[in-house]
Symmetry: C2
Subunit: 512 residues, 2 copies
């Protein structure tokens, strides 16, 4: 020990001792592994109280400089890993048992898919058909910047504070007006603001689904929903999709046999097939579910991106039984970074979901809610929807033409009436995982269809985003994919002839 | 039927039929319950194709104007509730069975508490001690507005797009620097961005806790954590708190008896007691948990709001076993509306939490993450923390003096070294629920202590926020609470004499 305490210093005595000892350890005067004097002894030597020394020792112990071992004394520790160098993370085989026991969480293919749809550009030359949102170039950045600053200027600190768990009341009022136009008989109290439709799916699953319960979904469907239901231990029951959406004619038998706890559906621009459920089927589905006492979770997240055909009202507009849980968001059709969606629910369910929203993340950002509210009040969202719908309609036509030109016989796809993706079946025998790697090397990406099914499909599929790419990108990317696909088919089974004739679409694929 | 089709109209024929019929229904020419002509008949009458009429009928059915009944024909329905008037929501006893079966979700007292802490000002004259965040007047609105617009100007649409589920990489790099200063040996890959610490708690619970599992928490503790663990079916095991935090000396016996799945702790400015776990206890806790193979979830959300005393490093800085899951956020100490926090986790757990983040809400707003990143990089957060710490320290002293002046004998509380709340025990026999109503009428609010315990406490407590109020409000509010408390005691058991002597603090309440 070789340091003096300074009575006139501003630093408390225990701090001076702490710093002195720390310097000696750093300098090597106090060697790693050496034993410190007892607190009693050091206190006497330095002429301070014993509590001063024990405080200094406790701090040094907290600093990771020394360690006290019961009955043996206090010892100098090796330097912190971070003080010396950046230590590599521990090897997998030294994880604590509780970690090692976690195992694989879920479907890795689905995790990969969800990660792809959130990933930004893959490089300047890669055509990113796997993107899960609209075209970033069409996001109303300047308008949104304006409403954000207006909100901050006018609302001040209130715009940065906490918010009710069920959402900013004026936003709920504003959404009421929109939903009434769609035929939903709602009050602001029926609306709960969430972090998007995915959060609604997860919360409804947590509320209604117990391990072993059956959940009916469209096959194929949104992988995030499969994920949420399976995370609750649900058994997934898939109902095929055709050009008019879910095959409701097959549903009654399924409801009787499986007695499901929930029906999850995307009736408008179904993800991934793009199908729109007909009005007749909507009515039939609502009636059937009510008769069997099974709630419907309606995911209506991309209704407003549409190419002109009339779209039937949401399922919730047909519902007179309080049986349809209606969810939507502004992620795909407006601004992904808003992280805002909503659910229309009443009665005990509404209470549960509000409580669960608190448990999940307390509340959604009031700044974003206020900005969205202002944006909606100014009618700006309708203008935006019209604008992107016009652009995406054109790109969709480009995509259809490119597919017809470049994709091999045996491929199937359909035109869609809205949304941002098309669903393409490729000839049986294509290994989509291999194709994905080959396509990425050649400069194009897609989402592998596998992730959209709870059970293996009988045909390989690709989901292709057409909305986020311009004509040149679409042409180039589809030509690339077509070439890779043909090479793949040639390598695996001898080249198929190029032809413009198409097989009948399978599994929810109406003809173009 | 009394309408003519206009061949020169822009509207398609089926739309003209739809509108014509709709007008007749609205006018009453077509009475509710009357049968429409068959599509074949109407097509012949109007001179259009039958498909045109069936399309119009399908749309009207979707609109809820008519209904087709198999074998019987198509009939005019009663007006929509929304067309006529705003119908009241259905009565509770007509909820579908699946709704009625939901029952009560959770502890209503806790729901009420969580709702209180998120609620804004209760009125101009009410002193809001129940607030769950810092002073909105100190939120750096102008600075945050500046970084937001800088981000939007420089990053453009990328700032409004999707984000990786694990968070904006530069923000994770930036947090790495901060966490290394605290003694955590982390890389950006160890950090997962979340919607706050509550989301971390919910996700860790979903990953580790199965129904019937034991979870060790401090008693009292943050109600949102009790909620998240109980929502997973956990049995809560409470460990008392004293001036040095969780009574780690009682823990070994509990770990052996209960074999818990998880230990949840708030070691710094424990919520609600404000206790700071000593360095010695931190080391002991980490060692003990590692020996028993029990992971620790460390909630460190308010570390940086502190009044000068040195605070030991986080538990995670003592951990050489990968056993501490470290979580924090910027909600309480910076801007609640950010909705951003993070968790430090490695190995399989990190994979699980990332996957679960996708399942929960896909990702957190990249705009908010970019703004926070820029704010941190500019060193602005340290300036903000110093500023609010100085102000809150003063308010804390005001609160202590006011409590000593106005609260009746038998009350207990302690000074805290940081954070935003104090925890006050009131004399046994006080009905806190009644007191709450009386206080609100008199112009002051608090959070009832009951919500912080999984099991009934043996003494009534109030949690009081001192950070969000100025000196005048604190003085006035505490005087009001003291008066109401004295009246309450007088009414229930004869007035107690006012005195400055205090009983020994109970249950985690070190003396002031």
């Amino acid at each position: 020990m070789d340091f003096a305490l300074q009575a006139g210093s501003n630093a408390p005595l225990y701090q001076q001792i702490r710093e002195g000892l720390r310097r000696e350890v750093a300098a090597g005067t106090l060697a790693v592994g050496s034993r410190l004097p007892s607190s009693r002894l050091l206190a006497r030597d330095l002429g301070v109280s014993r509590i001063t020394v024990t405080t200094a020792y406790a701090e040094l112990e907290a600093d990771g400089v020394i360690e006290s071992r019961a009955g043996a004394g206090t010892f100098v520790l090796p330097p912190w890993p971070l003080a010396a160098h950046h230590a590599p993370p521990p090897e997998t085989d030294v994880w604590p048992a509780w970690q090692a026991g976690l195992g694989q969480r879920s479907n890795p293919e689905r995790d990969r898919m969800l990660s792809q749809v959130l990933r930004g550009p893959l490089g300047p030359d890669t055509v990113n058909f796997s993107w899960g949102a609209g075209d970033p170039r069409l996001v109303p950045t300047a308008e949104f910047r304006r409403v954000l600053t207006e909100v901050l200027d006018q609302d001040g600190a209130a715009a940065l504070g906490p918010e009710h768990a069920d959402g900013y009341p004026p936003l709920r009022r504003c959404l009421t007006g929109y939903l009434r136009q769609l035929g939903l008989d709602v009050t602001p109290d029926d609306i709960l603001i969430t972090a998007g439709t995915q959060q609604v799916i997860a919360m409804v699953a947590a509320t209604l689904v117990q391990p072993g319960d059956r959940v009916v979904v469209e096959a194929p469907t949104w992988p995030g929903a499969l994920d949420a239901f399976q995370a609750r231990g649900a058994q997934i029951v898939g109902v095929p999709v055709d050009a008019d959406g879910m095959r409701v004619d097959l549903l009654e038998e399924i409801l009787e046999r499986e007695r499901p706890r929930l029906i999850y559906t995307i009736p408008t621009f179904q993800n991934p097939t793009g199908a729109v459920m007909s009005a007749a089927r909507r009515r039939a589905l609502v009636t059937l579910a009510a008769r069997h006492g099974v709630p419907i979770l309606e995911d209506d997240h991309v209704r407003e991106v549409r190419f002109g055909d009339p779209i039937p009202p949401p399922l919730a507009a047909f519902d007179r039984h309080g049986n349809v849980i209606h969810a939507s968001s502004f992620t795909k059709s407006l601004i992904p970074a808003l992280r805002l969606g909503y659910v229309v629910a009443r009665g005990p369910l509404r209470e549960w979901l509000t409580s669960l929203k608190r448990t999940s993340d307390l509340f959604s950002s009031t700044l974003m809610q206020r900005a969205l509210c202002r944006y909606l009040e100014q009618g700006a969202v309708q203008r935006h929807w019209r604008r992107v719908s016009r652009v995406y309609r054109h790109r969709h036509a480009t995509m259809q033409a490119a597919l017809a030109e470049h994709f091999p016989a045996g491929s199937t796809w359909s035109g869609v009436a809205g949304g941002i993706v098309v669903w393409v079946g490729v000839p049986p025998g294509v290994s989509v995982a291999t194709l994905y790697d080959e396509a990425l090397r050649a400069g194009a990406s897609f989402v592998a269809g596998e992730a959209f099914f709870a059970e293996p499909a009988d045909q390989p599929f690709l989901r292709l985003n057409f909305a986020a790419l311009d004509d040149e990108q679409i042409d180039r990317g589809i030509a690339t994919l077509g070439r890779v696909l043909n090479d793949h088919l040639g390598a695996s089974a001898g080249a198929l002839p190029m032809t413009s004739s198409r097989g009948r679409p399978a599994l929810g694929m109406p003809p173009a």
